[in-house]
Symmetry: C2
Subunit: 302 residues, 2 copies
């Protein structure tokens, strides 16, 4: 089952010619989730082949402009392009007021349902759930109220070993075996562990931007497969990171290490860094399985 993230923007605060403002698309199965929507996101989608009409959910981490100022334009364009299918928007509650006023002044009447869900900013919460996936938000530590997002695949069913099962076993019993339950059929006992294989381990992806280094996060994100953590500054600017409530690349790596993440990707780079390899070096010194993102990069979650 497809589970990937496409980076649309990896600059912090101010866009550059090579890095747009924060936005990324998580694809899970056939579903696309947009996380943050900095100015320029709709053009980045065109550039990297993301169809806006396929986005079903948008999550906005916080209301600093670099994380949401592309939203009104994206929604207007969806409208102009004839979108009719509903869109769910999860964001800090005051965004509703901003968008409402913008659309009123623009004379825009959306022709598709936009369902607005104010995000709980103070404690972790499940904000999306279906048969296959859970999405949680959790508070980060930033100048404005800010949340991160954790995408968790649900445990999948065990896989049947068909050679070890009679062809005529009823579907209900097969389903029970897949759930790991033992069954009896025509006087034979079938031990689930003997006639099925365990499913792949559930995968997870966490988005942490913008935030101070915040060690308690490591517990909530324990064992995460892929961790995106902001790394706005080099360690030499650790004081400035603290002052502006951002993290250094080294701090991002420390969190990955403590969370026992399988892999770390760092982004949200200050526009002062034309070359981010020094940040990558600082992170890898702490956590080797680190990559620095570029706009357009796609990471499979595995």
């Amino acid at each position: 089952m497809k589970f990937s993230v496409t980076i649309l923007g990896s600059s912090a605060g101010v866009p550059t010619l090579s890095r747009s403002l924060p936005a990324q698309v998580v694809q899970f199965n056939e579903r696309l989730f947009l996380i943050d929507c900095g100015e320029g996101t709709q053009v980045q989608m065109q550039k990297f082949g993301i169809k806006p009409h396929r986005i079903s959910h948008i999550f906005i981490s916080h209301l600093h402009g670099d994380h949401y100022l592309g939203l009104a334009g994206l929604l207007s364009s969806m409208n102009l392009q004839g979108r009719t299918q509903p869109l769910s928007l999860f964001a800090p509650y005051s965004l509703a007021e901003v968008l409402t006023l913008q659309f009123r002044s623009m004379g825009v009447v959306l022709r598709f349902p936009l369902h607005f869900f104010p995000l709980p900013m103070e404690q972790p919460a499940v904000i999306f759930e279906d048969d296959l996936l859970l999405v949680r938000c959790f508070p980060l530590v930033h100048l404005l109220p800010t949340v991160g997002f954790l995408f968790q695949e649900k445990p999948r069913e065990r896989n049947l070993i068909k050679e070890r099962l009679p062809k005529d076993m009823p579907f209900a019993l097969l389903k029970a075996l897949k759930r790991g339950e033992n069954v009896t059929w025509q006087d034979t006992f079938y031990h689930a562990e003997e006639v099925t294989l365990p499913p792949p381990l559930p995968r997870s992806y966490a988005y942490c931007s913008d935030t101070l280094y915040h060690e308690p996060l490591a517990k909530d994100l324990q064992g995460v497969n892929l961790l995106y953590h902001e790394a706005t500054f080099q360690e030499a600017l650790a004081d400035h990171a603290l002052k502006t409530t951002h993290s250094t690349a080294r701090q991002a790596a420390m969190l990955a290490l403590k969370a026992q993440a399988k892999k770390l990707i760092i982004g949200h780079f200050s526009a002062r860094y034309k070359d981010v390899s020094p940040l990558l070096t600082e992170a890898r010194a702490v956590f080797l399985a680190t990559e620095a993102v570029e706009d357009g990069a796609v990471f499979e979650i595995a």
Copy 2:
């Protein structure tokens, strides 16, 4: 004296990979004026070498999103980059409310003075004047209240023919000659027309976007040196242009013809046109001195 316009965005409604949303910069002498500020304008400025700190005035024609959604991001970036010099913003009055709410939700406190001037949307008015330049706004005909802008160089002084003047003539008399006044000095009469050359004719630039074809404009813009007129659609979509209160390329050319413009540039092309040469052909059939703009194009006003 430098008088030019740089096109930052030439798409209508929705950006494309080759055309950003409406924005252009008029340079007059050392001063830069930004007209409209669609999403992506700050990146276009980087791309085409326009320094945001040099912009002293911003004029927003109307509040459709494609003409102003880049503004909050541009102002935030100016702030982040340490701007301290004042900025004058001329826009429909309700933009003040939108920006105020956006900045409040973003926690942004501008560290430079932003002077907001609500534009008169119903009748022509002078909105800027200094020794060298006048800027007027005038109503266009569009779905939302919309204005165009006319930049008019003021008549310049006559040029002295030094060989025909005594070296010791006082400065005040020279100034009088430059103004075209005749003077007497040491019993000699100097006829201004004999000892000075006429100045270059004052130049002008008009920006008309978005608007229906509106013939009365031709009178106000009579003899304009350079006319930018929107040309959203081909003539085959004239009905659609009427319905959406836009112009066809042919209508833009008709206005240039009736205004006896020296040159016409067309833009604000619907994103459906990957190739705008058919629009250019339609316009040139009516007004030969027409060019279709591209992002990054610079036009000298002469």
